[in-house]
């Protein structure tokens, strides 16, 4: 199969997806329209008046928009489109309008790399963003110097992206706006160190980069505070696990007090549902669903939460939650997002939305599209976003901001469950800091 053929097939899939989603709901079709402006030839008329020298600033995004994890790609597009429309309505950035092209990374590193090359080289994207899977991020990161483009990672969360590729290898084109795995591993350890009765921990984790790093960091940090805890069992689940019953019953055989689990999106919903079926919540004290405060999971377990089936033992966090912080910026963002898409934004949406505003701030600061100028403008940048003030740490290009963890509860003010009993820790308390101590990470 030749390279060009492959791309044309993906284009077809993409078009099909867009058309299909469009057929489903009105809101989604808006993403589709905005996400595939490729049919219209990009404005090429040269204008010397523009400060940045272009009429259109091209943004190349990618995320997973098919399969069990597809809601994330949808949310990335929805957040990005909202920001782009807001900015374009006010005249763009320094007089240049924004244009988006969004591609499916399919959770496959090779596809993500091909997309990045296509977006930067063939389509002519000035800036890249997105990528859901950690594996894809670790593959895209190293080719950025060659592409001479910045990529703002707004979901992929392995600590190695910023610790090893940016801090260690000095790949300065990588930035990450989303909280990395420190969020669900170290924060979880800080929360549960204060539960003296939870001594036996088990894990049900993704059988890839993401799961390995969360489990390693969680154990490492919790052990520092609580030498008495034991890690009694672990089960690994690859992508496309449709049935977690065997994983759940395997870890339950070790009689854990607490379980920490990483499967996300649709797989996370099914994991929790199957755990309920297996009576897990009668036999444990706490279950920490790492990205369980993502909107798609909250929607998916809404009935079960309302019926009290988790017995207040289900905990979660995310890389942003829509009910925190209570600031004008966040309230405005949530209101506009709900108005536009008729859903709550999950963290991918906020991360993508803020990505576009970080690009705006950086472009306005350096007034240049040159990658080296943009890197300088973004290092050390402080910017107010819906998730709170973000600071791009110059050493590793990681955005520092805090997100709480909490119990998944029903709240009369919201149509879906939310995090309550919030445990707020400053980001400094749970982010790893340079120089990063090497972490033994194994399956």
């Amino acid at each position: 199969m030749s390279g060009s053929k492959k791309i044309s097939r993906r284009e077809l899939l993409k078009a099909a997806t867009v058309a299909g989603i469009g057929g489903m709901t009105l809101g989604l079709s808006k993403v589709g329209e905005a996400a595939s402006p490729k049919e219209k030839p990009p404005a090429q008329t040269k204008s010397t008046k523009k400060i940045l020298g272009v009429d259109v600033i091209k943004l190349g995004g990618q995320g997973v928009i098919s399969g069990a994890h597809a809601d994330y790609g949808w949310q990335i597009q929805a957040g990005a489109v909202l920001a782009i429309d807001e900015i374009n309505a006010k005249g763009g950035i320094l007089g240049s309008k924004l244009e988006l092209k969004f591609m499916d990374e399919e959770l496959k590193p090779a596809v993500a790399v091909k997309n990045a090359r296509y977006l930067a080289t063939d389509w002519g994207a000035h800036l890249l963003f997105g990528v859901d899977s950690s594996g894809s991020a670790m593959a895209v990161g190293p080719i950025l110097p060659e592409l001479d483009r910045i990529c703002m990672f707004d979901h992929a969360s392995t600590h190695r992206l910023t610790e090893e590729l940016v801090y260690g290898k000095g790949i300065k084109q990588i930035f990450r706006i989303a909280a990395p795995v420190y969020q669900e591993s170290n924060l979880a350890a800080l929360i549960f160190k204060d539960f003296p009765n939870i001594k036996r921990w088990a894990g049900i984790h993704c059988d890839y980069e993401y799961g390995y790093s969360v489990w390693a960091l969680f154990k490492d940090t919790l052990k520092k505070y609580r030498p008495d805890v034991e890690f009694v069992s672990i089960a690994w689940a690859p992508f496309w696990t449709m049935d977690f019953s065997s994983h759940i019953s395997a870890v339950m055989a070790a009689k854990p007090d607490g379980i920490i689990a990483t499967p996300w999106a649709g797989e996370g919903v099914m994991l929790l549902r199957q755990a309920l079926m297996l009576g897990v919540f009668d036999n444990i004290q706490a279950w920490f669903q790492c990205m369980g405060a993502s909107v798609d999971i909250l929607e998916g377990i809404s009935n079960e939460v309302a019926a009290g089936k988790f017995k207040d033992k289900l905990w979660a966090t995310a890389r942003y939650i829509h009910n925190y912080p209570d600031t004008p910026e966040n309230n405005k963002f949530v209101a506009s997002f709900r108005k536009r898409w008729n859903r709550f934004p999950n963290y991918s949406a906020e991360n993508a939305y803020s990505t576009i505003y970080v690009f705006k701030a950086a472009l306005e600061k350096c007034r240049s599209l040159k990658t080296s100028d943009l890197i300088k403008a973004m290092e050390g940048l402080k910017i107010m976003t819906p998730a709170g003030e973000r600071f791009f740490r110059p050493e590793d290009h990681q955005a520092i901001y805090n997100v709480p963890g909490g119990r998944v509860v029903k709240d009369p003010n919201y149509p879906i469950p939310v995090l309550g009993d919030l445990k707020v820790f400053p980001a400094q308390a749970y982010y790893r800091n340079p120089p990063f101590e090497p972490l033994a990470m194994a399956k």
Partner: protein, 285 residues
């Protein structure tokens, strides 16, 4: 010991989805001689149709499953009647190409109709609850799945061994020309067999709707396991598909419990051993 019993039972319930999937694959191969790559997609369609009837339209769960089987039967009919029928005489490579094409078509169609996002309907309330097995709670639904899987095994066996239709099918499978000569309408029979296999796959997908992920792509993900099962059990052999499914399902469950680090590799290891010792599969002739 209790742990092993419990884990085995969980594995057995997982096996039953695999059995329903592998059964149709192996029947179609055994009778029609076609290795249907898109068989997993029929499983996926079974799940999507059930989701639509039960999850979206609020149809009764049982009726939704029945309607879903009929819907997939129609899809299967068109697939066989207008496409596969024309390539029976060609090499396996062409069948593979055609049926692989169907995977892409079905996946894209699913994206167009249902969207890329995973579909998760509410759980039918009558399936809630657990029964105690060796002192641990075991889901009633999984017990129901095991029962259904076994019941289907018996029904399929009776159908092929004890009915006139089954005899015709077996006759055509062993000698197409002879069966035709004594008056069996081969094309119609083949359509029937293909539709029957499609409905078995659909049943597997339909039963998983409330508890398993339904998304475009599960067909391709499932078909690999089904192929492993039929390779272990013997291609075209129904008993082999049943035993193979139980081997794969329960051994994965034990692998997750006992060897979490290389559980994925275990199944391939077993397949490799079977291929080395008995290349035609455990029950292959």
């Amino acid at each position: 010991m209790e742990t092993l019993v419990f884990q085995g039972l969980v594995g057995l319930s997982v096996s039953m989805y695999l059995w329903l999937l592998a059964a149709g694959l192996t029947i179609v191969f055994g009778v029609l001689g076609v290795l249907n790559f898109a068989h997993g997609s029929l499983f996926m369609l079974g799940a999507y149709f059930t989701f639509t009837y039960y999850g979206l339209w609020g149809v009764n769960f049982w009726l939704a499953i029945a309607l879903s089987l009929l819907s997939v039967a129609v899809v299967g009919y068109f697939m066989e009647r207008f496409f596969l029928r024309h390539i029976y005489h060609l090499d396996h490579a062409y069948q593979l190409l055609l049926t692989f094409g169907f995977i892409l078509i079905f996946d894209d169609a699913a994206k167009m109709i249902w969207g890329g996002v995973a579909k998760i309907p509410a759980m039918p309330s009558f399936f809630e609850g657990t029964v105690s097995v060796v002192g641990r709670p075991f889901p009633f639904y999984n017990l129901f799945i095991i029962g259904t899987g076994l019941a289907v095994a018996i029904v399929v066996w009776l159908l092929f061994e004890k009915t006139w239709w089954g005899k015709m099918v077996r006759a055509s499978a062993s000698d197409r020309e002879m069966a035709s000569a004594i008056g069996v309408n081969i094309p119609t029979l083949f359509t029937g067999v293909f539709v029957f296999g499609a409905m078995l796959a659909a049943l597997g997908g339909a039963l998983g709707t409330p508890v398993r992920v339904v998304a475009p792509g599960i067909g391709a993900a499932m078909i690999i396991q089904a192929f492993i099962i039929t390779v272990i059990g013997g291609l075209g052999n129904l008993k082999g598909a049943f035993v193979g499914a139980i081997i794969v399902g329960t051994l994965s469950a034990y692998g997750i419990l006992l060897f979490p680090v290389f559980e994925l590799f275990l199944i391939f290891l077993i397949m490799a051993v079977v291929l080395m010792v008995k290349p035609q599969g455990l029950f292959g002739g």
